[in-house]
Structures are given as structure tokens and as C-alpha cells.
Symmetry: C2
Subunit: 179 residues, 2 copies
């Protein structure tokens, strides 16, 4: 960030009065520009014992498999956002959404909210951000072709929970390996 | 938003290619400036059967009572942020944090994550954003002097859960009354 998006003046990193962190502060109009974590909302859609996954048509992780998920938008609820992403990526209408999994990923300043859901009329397709989509039973999941650590984590946990027949809401922190 | 914070050029609301929403797009460098919901993290700290509340020394809702909570910062986990806010607002070190309550507040594009917690050494004070702080038993809570709808909601629910002796994680949508 180099310029103030309100007045166009130059910004500098400073600790404002009554604060204890550096912020981007406009040197012209004194506006403080905060940068905060982003929320990723997504679904774990199932039809009977199979899970709907999408193959990414965009970077990062082009060609890898993922659950439908993406940045939450202003003005929507997290469930609405998760359903929207499921429609955009898998052309599937999510139904019966139940919150399932919260991940903190502080390394990239993201919080994930995942919902379990069904799919209306068991109908799905391929959205513009996907190369293909498909249903996977437990022994068909492409474990070595998954796009993100959170996807592996939630799928492993879902399969364990399914054996128990209970799906408690859980939250954990994902620490990315240092490179 | 009027100016690009990367190049200082003018921005205009446009629907970018491969998108379906208006975004602030720089007319000079084509950067797209997304605006996303913010996360509020907070604690519901208790000592035995009493709840720690803080009286706000800042707007909005100056002089009203609230639970320690505030905007999550980049690079921290939601639990770390909730503990940080408890320190900043009530000079209390939160311990044994357990996720308790998720609120969607789409009207103001916020998601709240509240943790139940204890307080180290039962020690608390008054942070710079508070006028005072104190412990309240169920029949002492200042219901008509609470700062925000989510505070009323979580306190009511906590007291009900306490009677049952179970504290399941729940998520709901808070619809603000239209003005």
C-alpha cells in the first residue's frame, strides 16, 4: 500500500495514537488503513457416501482437487457464501447446510468456515473456476492431488466422524510448514 | 474508495472479467481492490459463577457494557486475538479458551468468534478502551445497558447452557432491526 484510497496522498507505516501496531497512515488526510484477516467459506457436499470435489481451473494449485470454497463477500452470511461458492465452482445448489469446521490459518491471515451440506436433486456440474467435478467415495479420494492442507484435514476428519456417526463442530489452527 | 492504493490512480466501480460483482478497479493500473467481511474476536471470561464485563470508553456505545472483543489482526489466530482483546480491554490474561459462539452479522459484514475462558490468577483491571470492568452474576447483568445485540444474545445463551451444564458450539445469524 503506497497511496491513500480516500485522498490519493502518500501513506507511511506508523503506530497511530492509542494503538500498538504499525498501520498504513495517510500523510495528507491522516486516515488509517487497517488490513485484517479474510474469511474463506466453503462446503463439504455429500450424496450418500460420496463427497463432491472440484478440480481447480485457476491458480494457485491449478489442476488440484478441492472442496468448493472461496472468499466471503460483504453483505452475505457465511452459509450463503458457502452455498454461493458451491454454485460457482460445482454448479450445485447446496442444501441443509450445517456448520462443521473452523480453521485458523494465521500464516496467511485467513479463517475458514466449512459447512456440511447436501445437494438439491443430486445435480452438479462444472463451474467456470473448475476443470471438472466429481463424487468420490472414501477409497477414491485423490489424497496426493489435493489443493490445500485444509482440504486434506477436513476430509480425513469427516471420514473419521462418519464412522462415529457424529459431526461435532471443531476448530483448530493450521500451521503451514516453513519453507 | 476513490484512489488506487498501489499507484494512486482513480478507481471506478466495475464488474471485472470473470466476476459477477462490482469492485473498485483502478483505471490506471487495473488493480482490483476487494473489500471483504471483517472478523470480530472476543471472550466470555468467567470466574466461578460470575462474568467479566467492560464498560466502553470509546464510541460506538460509549458507557455501555460489553464483553472484551475487537477486530482480529493479521498474523494471529482467533483465540490469540480474543485473548489479546481481553488483555487490552480488561487487563486480564485469558486462559483455557474454548470456542463457543459464532455470529454472522451480514448487515455490517462482520463475523464474530467468541471463546469461553477463565482468567489467570482471577486478576483483571481496566484497559485503555474501558471506563471500568467488573464481575456480574446472572441477576446482576445490566441487560438494559449492554452495548451490542450479540452481547445480549451470547449472555442469555450462556446462562441457559450453564443450567444444562453443556456448552455446544453454535452459529446463528443476527439480523439487525431496520432503522
Amino acid at each position: 500500500m503506497k497511496f491513500c484510497n480516500l485522498c490519493g496522498g502518500p501513506v507511511a507505516l506508523q503506530i497511530p495514537d492509542d494503538d500498538n501496531r504499525e498501520r498504513h497512515v495517510c500523510q495528507n488526510c491522516d486516515a488509517i488503513h487497517y488490513v485484517n484477516p479474510k474469511i474463506i467459506v466453503g462446503c463439504l457436499p455429500t450424496i450418500e457416501d460420496r463427497i463432491l470435489l472440484c478440480k481447480r481451473a485457476i491458480e494457485p494449485r491449478y489442476g488440484k482437487w478441492t472442496l468448493p470454497a472461496g472468499f466471503m463477500e460483504n453483505g452475505e452470511t457465511s452459509a450463503d457464501g458457502a452455498a454461493r461458492e458451491t454454485w460457482e465452482e460445482a454448479a450445485a445448489k447446496a442444501k441443509d447446510l450445517v456448520l462443521y469446521r473452523i480453521f485458523d490459518v494465521p500464516h496467511i491471515s485467513q479463517v475458514y468456515l466449512f459447512y456440511r451440506c447436501g445437494i438439491e436433486n443430486d445435480a452438479f456440474g462444472v463451474g467456470p473456476e473448475s476443470l471438472e467435478s466429481g463424487l468420490f467415495s472414501a477409497d477414491e479420494i485423490p489424497w496426493h492431488q489435493l489443493a490445500f492442507p485444509v482440504v486434506r484435514e477436513i476430509l480425513q476428519e469427516y471420514l473419521r466422524d462418519r464412522e462415529q456417526g457424529e459431526y461435532p463442530i471443531r476448530n483448530t489452527v493450521i500451521e503451514y510448514p516453513r519453507r
